[in-house]
Subunit: 141 residues, 2 copies
């Protein structure tokens, strides 16, 4: 009984990752994510930070985040602020353009997901969100 749920979760997680990382379908809806989306979102909601902190939060290598942030800076979505207390350090802040892009992208994602869930009852959506959150929290440990 429990074992059966476990197997189901195991399989469905594998499938979810598989479908979400194939470019074929979702193209720009699940792929910008992995790099830019959460980064922009993090900065937009919790303010400027340096790459070290970001890398810690995302559990990515610092070099990876450094490149991502540099790419976003290059696109004009982020700008660098030198740390006044530490000559080595910078933080990245989001620009107006970055905020605009972020909101458009988020909006597109919400629309797409709403479409997927359009025949789901409200309480299932609620539970699904909560369980995903709970699962993600467990992944941090």
């Amino acid at each position: 009984m429990y074992e059966q749920s476990l197997e189901m979760i195991e399989l469905e997680l594998a499938i979810l990752i598989r479908r979400s990382t194939s470019n074929t379908n979702n193209k720009k809806l699940w792929n910008l994510d992995r790099s830019a989306y959460l980064l922009l979102r993090r900065i937009a909601t919790k303010g400027a930070v340096g790459v070290k902190v970001l890398a810690g939060e995302f559990q990515l290598d610092i070099s990876t985040v450094s490149r991502q942030a540099a790419a976003l800076e290059h696109k004009g979505y982020l700008y660098k602020i030198p740390d006044p207390l530490d000559g080595r350090a910078y933080s990245f802040q989001i620009t107006e353009l970055g905020l605009k892009e972020l909101n458009e992208y988020k909006h597109a994602r919400l629309e797409r997901i709403a479409e997927l869930l359009n025949d789901w009852p409200d309480d299932e959506c609620k539970v699904f969100g909560q369980l995903l959150q709970k699962f993600n929290q467990s992944l941090l440990k």
Copy 2:
């Protein structure tokens, strides 16, 4: 109310994909997946098929699957069977070694996930599995 659940699902899905595709933590537990695991699993449970069918099922490009299958063949996990009716076509079948590898890997995954869910009540596990499955099905459309 509904909007709030939607936003939560949207965010948590992004986080789940993010965490699952970083190499840092899970290393070999979420990364072999994307390529080999579901492929081996598919062949083990539903029998030999060619790359075209696999690519269709996984919504990947045929060339991608062709390389993945070739890699697994090279490792001795799969072997190629020429189609007796069509000189162009092959199907891949799993070897004893492939089956062994698949089971070990699956076992490791189940263990890891059981660990993550160890304090979840049975009914939450059950619902989580069902909703993941339902969501994945909606992704096919």
